[in-house]
Symmetry: C2
Subunit: 391 residues, 2 copies
């Protein structure tokens, strides 16, 4: 097949609020080839990614992504890898590239799976997709009492794993943080997996993170997520040596396999969290999953938006039986909920599965997302480079 058309759809809530909820807008991409279509989603600023698709060429290594995608052959997985390499080479100096490529790569896998009648995880070489345990994410409460109440609710909702983060954590003293972590453990009960997300609060300084380790150990916290910004490899390594049995987690900001590998090789992470909508798609995410499995590091998806994005983020590690946790979006905005007409609901035992259907196994209905479609237009030198296509 030959890639005949690539169309971008910028979706948004009518009002985007200044809060940390990343599901308030979305950038979908539809790729058409051989009479079939595949859908992908970028976890990225929509207008900026659209500009990177269609902007004028600056030079041989700063081309719009369009130049490396349209008209390419797509018959097997090696073609997807080849297109990704070509994009990274020809758009090397265009910084937005990996975020935009992510949606394209995901759509190409979806398309190829539909063509071959196979789920993406099977095309990736996995004989079966193993069940994953979804974990709930909650903000810490304003007080330990409130955190305890939240944890109780998570337990009552039936979750066997929960992550608490942000809120007051790291902004007050170590004793206060310890009280929050203790409250979370008490509310969840002894059996649930408990994770803590520090939201990069300590920048690149291991000292305040160290003061929290005893309380994290005492509450049997599985991982401490993003104590530092993702470039602080030296701080990750220093803390990691002292944190056992608590492991460090990070990686959601990775936009290349290199960045993820550095977090393992130099930062000594125990859990690597990859968003297929940022790292460049399913192809590089699978490379990180292979690397993690080889190193004894546990792979986890990072997903905060739609179930199209969730399916894409599950594929790279669907076949890794030991990598059992899964970030599952529970409070996504209506626009994110609208994207997947066929959401990935937990089964009777509470497990989430990568779909068995062809491609990503998720149906996108134009009628469901049309109400959120944003009209956009990019013009250069009198020529229209992009105008929101019909849906």
């Amino acid at each position: 097949m030959k890639i005949e058309a690539v169309d971008w759809f910028y979706l948004s809530m009518p009002e985007v609020q200044d809060i940390a909820d990343g599901s308030q807008d979305a950038l979908l991409v539809r790729v058409q080839a051989g009479g079939l279509e595949g859908w992908g989603e970028c976890e990225a600023a929509p207008l900026v990614s659209i500009a990177s698709w269609c902007c004028p060429m600056s030079h041989a290594a700063c081309k719009p992504l369009r130049d490396s995608v349209l008209g390419q052959r797509i018959d097997d997985p090696a073609d997807i890898a080849r297109i990704g390499r070509l994009v990274r080479e020809q758009s090397l100096d265009l910084l937005q590239t990996p975020h935009t490529l992510s949606g394209i790569d995901i759509a190409l896998w979806d398309l190829l799976g539909r063509r071959l009648g196979e789920p993406v995880w099977r095309l990736l070489g996995y004989p079966r997709a193993h069940p994953k345990t979804p974990y709930a994410f909650s903000l810490f409460g304003d007080t330990p009492h409130e955190t305890h109440a939240k944890a109780l609710r998570v337990r009552t909702a039936g979750y066997r794993a929960a992550k608490f983060g942000w809120g007051p954590y790291g902004h007050g003293g170590a004793a206060e943080d310890a009280a929050h972590v203790r409250a979370a453990r008490e509310g969840l009960g002894e059996d649930a997996a408990l994770m803590v997300d520090a939201g990069t609060v300590w920048g690149d300084d291991p000292a305040p993170a160290r003061e929290r380790l005893a309380a994290l150990r005492e509450a049997r916290v599985l991982w401490l997520e993003e104590p530092f910004v993702s470039g602080a490899l030296e701080a990750y390594a220093a803390l990691s040596r002292e944190a056992a049995p608590v492991k460090l987690a990070g990686g959601e900001g990775c936009h290349s396999v290199h960045m993820a590998r550095h977090l393992l090789n130099y930062g000594a992470l125990g859990f690597v969290q990859i968003d297929a909508g940022r790292i460049g798609g399913i192809t590089p995410a699978k490379a990180v999953a292979d690397l993690a499995a080889a190193r004894g590091v546990t792979y986890v998806n990072h997903t905060f938006t739609s179930h199209l994005a969730l399916s894409a983020s599950l594929q790279p590690y669907a076949g890794l039986a030991e990598h059992t946790l899964c970030e599952y979006p529970v409070e996504a905005s209506p626009v994110a909920v609208a994207i997947a007409a066929t959401p990935l609901r937990p089964d009777a035992q509470g497990y989430v599965h990568a779909p068995e259907g062809p491609g990503l196994g998720v149906t996108v209905h134009p009628a469901r997302i049309r109400p959120y479609l944003v009209e956009a237009e990019l013009r250069v030198g009198g020529h229209v480079l992009y105008r929101t296509p019909d849906l």
Copy 2:
């Protein structure tokens, strides 16, 4: 002063060719405050960077750069650092951010220098600006004979330092590459500094690079530049251990201080090459220069475009007397030449100096660049977010 206006100007040659010349277009930014103006330049895809400036907010950590810049106070260098931190925090998930921030940071330093009547390097804490030796960059010839002729021309033009790269280097056998390097040394004469740029030809594989080391040593090559892609820290470290006295160079793709620090800490570079138009401006570039000086690594600018960009890239290490080499654009396109009405010409002894005038010490004349101005317009939901301003 308060930042009152930030205007973006997309300049381009009438025809952009599919060649490695990165000076065929440019993105200039003019910042106005307190009745003064400062100019900066991004080494970035213009339309994509403009979109990152003015796009709608996606969420609290994915805002347009505009939200963190307009209306901010700018009275001293600490304000520039504060604005940069705010931009990186509020636009964390917008990948293009550092490329766009680069022009803003540069323009803010220019503006502040003009306000205080000081060159930027003095505001950075340097008592004086030391002369730099410009080096010429040439592509290797198609044959060693042609490389020899090119090196002779560089010598005749009076250069005391020269870099050869790309072309056939790394694409044939080690013997052929050795012949090219030998030819370059013979053409240049014994006294000139000779550098080799491999243009990331070996990806992340140290083996073929190793086979070239003997010839590089024999020709007394000062540095081997970018044998690998910039993420291949492990390969850099492996090669670095065996290459002495040849040192490794890289860093032009860095878009954060973290990336540059990793090249030093893990990649064991001997020379770090920073483009102030990519790393986020003069502020992070100066942090890398400090780090390099403390580690005994030599800082070099990366500049391929205008003399506005050249002045910006010289400021961060202007005061480091031991860091003597300077990349000097010799064959920039007419659009890049038009930007600086007052270019940085080498003195009678052939040295290049960071200007003594206030700010960047470079004058931008609207009349000179107006012929290259590109008309662009970005619309979302019926609103014009950007339209090329008057110049």
